[in-house]
Structure formats: C-alpha cells, structure tokens
Amino acid sequence: MNKILEVKNISKRFGNIQALRDVSFDVEKGEFVFIVAHTNAGKSTLLKIIAGILEPDEGEIYIEGENITKTPPWERPVGYMPQTYALFPHMTVLENVMFGPIHRGLDREEAIEKAQKYIELVGLKGWEKAYPHELSGGMQQRVALARVLAVEPKIILLDEPLSALDALLRVKLRGEIKKILKGKTVLWVTHDQEGAMSLADKLIVMRSGRIVAVGNAMELYYKPTSLYVAHFLGEINFIESVAHGGFVQILDTKVSTDKIGPVVIGIRPEDIKIVKNNSSPLGRVKELRFVGGFWRLLVDVEGIDLVVYSLKRIRSKEVSLRIHPEDVLVFDYPPEGIRRAVHLE
C-alpha cells in the first residue's frame, strides 16, 4: 500500500449550508480516482480544500503521510485544475506553463525547458507564443493540463475538465486526457457518471456533502449499497414489494432474500429480457424509442411500468418478459419514500 493522499474527517460549512460532512478517503499511487456527484454536492469544495485554497472547519489532509492541513497552497505538492481552466489571459502558452516551475524555485532556463517538455507532451508544440484567447476550447484545456503537469505534483486534481466542451468532443477528449495522465495519480471530479465509470480505477459517490459509496465501477453498478447509488449510476426500475418467507417476487421470478416486510426491488432495464416463450408474463408496449444503438421500451406488466432495453426493434404490441433472480436487487423500503431517497439534487 502506497498512499499518496489521505483525507480524514473533513467538514466544511458555508453560513447555513453544510458543504462537506465528515469526508474521508484515500488515493493510492498511480490510481485514477473519480468523485462523482450531483451539482452542489460539495465536490469542488473538497478539491479546493485538498489544494489548500479553502480551509476545512474540521479534519486533516495528508500527502505521503505528512499532515499538510495548515500548509499554504503554494507549498503543497498538489496540482489543481479548475473547471474554467483559469489560464492567465495576459500570458502566452509558454509563460502560463512555466509559471509553476518558476515559482517552485526553478531558474528561468530550467523552467522554460520543463514547460516545453510538457507543452510537447500535450501536443501543443509550436503554440508556445499564442495567447489563451487565440486557442480553441480543447486546446485551452490541454494548456491547463500542461501547466498542472509542469509543477510535477504528487497528485493532480481535476475539476470537471470536460464540462466546457461540446458533447461530441467530450467523449473524445476523455480518452485523450487519460492517455496524457497515464501513470500519474489523479483525483477527478465530475457529475457525469458514465464517463466516470468508464475511466475510474476507483469511484467515490457523493451526495449533499457526504460520501455514500466507494468502490470499483462494476461493483457499485451491479451491487449498489443504496437506492440512491443504484439510481445515480444508471437507469433502473424500482418496484415496491413485500418480502415474506425469505422471498420476494417480481413478475414470475422468485428471489430469495433475508429481508422481511416492505422492500424495494431494483432491476436494470438491460436485465429484463424479451423472450419468445409464451409462459412468461405478458406486457403491453406503451412506448418505444430508439436512443442510439438500442431501443428503450416502456412496458406495462400487470399494472407496473417497466423500462426495458432491447438491442432489436420490437414490432409487436405485446412482449413476454423474463427476469433472472441473480439480476434482481432487494433494498429495504426507505422511510422517506423512494422518490426522496433517489432525488438527484
């Protein structure tokens, strides 16, 4: 175990708003960790506290075992890249990138050399003399990356680096950033759960200032610890039910459970299979939408609306559905009701 970053019991309050509550987690050397959460969940605040530009009310930050909670930002071995990139508008690309090395104590020659190395790494050789406003959004983002890399921090903090870009460009650049940052220790904050799942070594899900789940993406997607995490990581059907005798039932599928009383059954749309078998329960197709690569159906089975994904176009008005017991999730019924338990804001 080689812990680069340890965040211990961080809390932060702004006036009446509790931005962070008792947040703790670790990042190991070379790990790509994502914090994924809705807007205003406190994830940017957390990054700023790690970078040292905000002070926590409680808790400590350690880098390689050393407590840096009271260390000013300019002495922390941390690279922080904000959502807006915050490139210095009055400086050229080269001056932007060498700003860090110069202030971290390198002399001019060395700083230029280092800056050029990272400008080349992000693929902007030849643009050293350009000003930020002369570059496209994607290029600005790469300058910001080079600037962070040039201080050679122990950990890189990225705050929604893709949110300023067109949807189409976003998918492309996601992969590119991962390539540029290969081998580095990275903590990346986003609201895009799909992007996070696709790149993360480890995923941290936050809600309203708290960490609600930590784990690898597939683990959290298939075995979520709560209704909220299940819903947040992707579309899912929730059906209210009651467990008794060690079982719950969904359609004609019996699932064993150790829960008793009111429960919520969760089943992902891709796990409901459309079959040709007549003995399976029949449902009426209420809606059918092609959503790029697959079809999204709304099927009414015995008064319950289920969302079902299908790889093929379904032409009939009625379909038979089959659910495998091992795909079914069973949760305790939340005291605040399903809607509030999964509320996204």
Binding site: D166, L168, V171, H191, Y221, E235, R289, F290, F294, E345
Partner: protein, 336 residues
C-alpha cells in the same frame, strides 16, 4: 400548427450562416435540429422565431406567410438554454405571465393545471432563484406553454444540467410536450438527447441540412461519413474494396455489408459500434475496455484490425477475447 421553412438563407458579412434550408414540421411533431456549435442551428432558430430576418426564403405557419412578422406577432413559446426566467417575479407569476398580461380570466385554473403538469408543488412566494436548474427549466417550459403558442422552440434546454438529471428529464420533457400536443422544434448538439426526444431530426453542418430522418434512419442509414460518426458519437470508418455480392474485404477480413457494390470498387465502410453480435465466428481480442453501465466500450482486435465496439456489459465480463459476428445491416457502405 404545421411549420414550413422554404429556401431560407442568411449571411453575416462573408459567412453564410444558413444556406438554402428547407423542411417541414408536421402538426404536433417534435422536430429536432442537431449540429456542432457554429453550424447555423441557432441562427435558423432565430429566423423561425422572428428575431432575425432571412436574406431570402419564406417561413409559413399553417400556410400563412409569417416571414415579415416580428417576434411579438408570431405567438411562439421559447425555452432557452440559459433558462431566462423573470427572476424578479415569483415562479407562479412567471408561469402566469402571458395570461395575466393579456387579462385572461381563468388564469388560476391554468396555473393549477400547469403545476400539476410539471409535477411541482410551489408556494405562492417561491422565487425562481430558490429552485434547482432542472426545476427552473420546467417552469420555463410551463411559462411557454401557458402562453398557448403556435410553436414551441426549445434551444438546448438541457445543456449544463448534470448528466443523470438530463437523462431523466429528457423523457419528462417529451411527455409534457406530447401531452399538450403543441408543435415543437428542439435544438441541441447532443445526439443522445435528440434521439430520445425528437420524432424526426435534421442534421446541420456549415449552414446546410445534410439529412432529415427518424433517429433510427440517421443512425443506421446515414448519407455520409459525417452523419455516421455524429449519430452515435463514434463509428468505425474503414477503407475496403468490394468483392461483389455485398461482400467487402478489409485486410484479411471479409465482411458482408448492407448493400451491394460492383466488384473491385473501393469503398468506405461505416461500422456502427453496436454491430458486433456475440457468439459469432470472428475471434476478437479485447485490447481496451471502458465500462459504461449497460454497455461496455471495447477496442477489439480482429485479425490485426482494430475495431471500436459497444457490447452489453454482461457478455464481456472477465474475458480477454470474444467471438463476434458483425451485423451486415449495421455496416453502411459509402462509395469512394
């Protein structure tokens, strides 16, 4: 209301923003316009709204020529990317704005109905700024619908929302618009969003419409490589040559395509990411994988050729190779 746009052109200085655009929106249809920033879609929307005048061409609302009518005279409901609620008025006053200023009597009833419609329970004094972005956007849609518009224009209404909220709200918006039955034009740069909401889509590039069709048509029957890559976000584009009989050769690989091309001709194959079907005859090594929930994005190596594929996650768990077939219907053939 049926909307007809006929041969509309608009230039700003030397830049042709909208270049001879024609299309028709059926009554009650949700019509999508998609393109990258700068493709002219916003200018087109402004021309339909009456904020800009076209240099030439006509706009008809139900056979009435409205080309020279101002925004104030077209009766349009606008929903903006940046929401633009009246922040000095309460949320309810926002919804009731148009009926109130027109002095319509039954506004209480209408507002009640719309509140139920957007599934919101707002107090009389709730200000828009106290609400979440998603809820603000619903209020803005309700405000537009309360004005009983001829046409609803939605300009990237979900841009800037969290990914997960966007994916639930897009279906809610569709339900709301379809319930009222108003004709709508929906503009965005997000191909997933537009497929989810629109009945038909026009894809724009450099001021021109390149293709109009249902989401499925644009996805599986693109007219060129641009559309093929755009709808889906990624696409395998490979040079090949025709062996006749709808067969095509790429390196050592022989694939069946969606149509026949004369033997010996060079072609470009656009292979959609969902074309790869498990339990097939090609052995594919998995070089890279990105788990995305229901689907996993893979980089496959089949006989030394790299393909990007999206397959149901559970079919590619814990394996480093899969056997696949490639669905001929999802291989689009372009002549070179």
């Amino acid at each position: 209301m049926r909307i007809v746009v006929r041969n509309v052109r608009k230039r700003f200085g030397k830049v042709v923003a909208v270049d001879d655009v024609s299309f028709e929106v059926k009554d009650g249809e949700i019509f999508g316009i998609i393109g990258l920033s700068g493709c002219g879609k916003t200018t087109l929307l402004k021309i339909i709204a009456g904020i800009l005048r076209p240099d030439s061409g006509k706009i008809y609302f139900d056979d009435v020529d409205v080309t020279n009518l101002a925004l104030e005279e077209r009766k349009i409901g606008f929903v903006f990317q940046d929401v633009r609620l009246f922040n000095h008025l309460t949320a309810i006053e926002n919804i009731a704005y148009a009926p109130t200023l027109r002095g319509e009597q039954d506004r209480e009833e209408l507002v009640d109905w719309l509140m139920g419609f957007i599934r919101a329970d707002l107090s009389k004094s709730t200000m828009p700024t106290e609400l979440s972005r998603g809820m603000q956007q619903k209020i803005s849609l309700a405000r537009a619908i309360a004005s009983e518009p001829n046409l609803l224009l939605l300009d990237e209404p979900l841009a800037g929302l969290d990914a997960r909220i966007k994916s639930t709200m897009v279906f809610e918006l569709r339900d709301m618009i379809k319930d009222v039955g108003v004709t709508a034009i929906y503009v965005t740069h997000d191909q997933w969003e537009i497929s989810s909401i629109a009945d038909r889509i026009a894809i724009m590039k450099a001021g021109k419409i390149i293709q109009i069709g249902t989401p499925e048509e644009l996805y599986y029957r693109p007219v060129n490589e641009y559309v093929a890559t755009f709808m889906g976000g990624e696409c395998n584009l490979l040079n090949a040559y025709s062996l006749g009989n709808s067969q095509f050769k790429i390196g050592d690989l022989i694939l069946k395509g969606s149509r026949n091309i004369e033997n010996g001709r060079n072609v470009k194959l656009a292979i959609k990411l969902d074309a790869f079907i498990p339990n097939g005859r090609f052995e594919a090594k998995i070089i890279e994988r990105n788990f995305m929930g229901p689907f996993t994005r893979l980089v496959l190596d089949i006989n030394g050729i790299k393909f990007i594929a999206k397959m149901p996650s559970k079919q590619v768990f814990n394996v480093d190779k899969v056997f696949v077939d490639i669905d001929p219907n999802k291989i689009v053939v372009f002549e070179r």
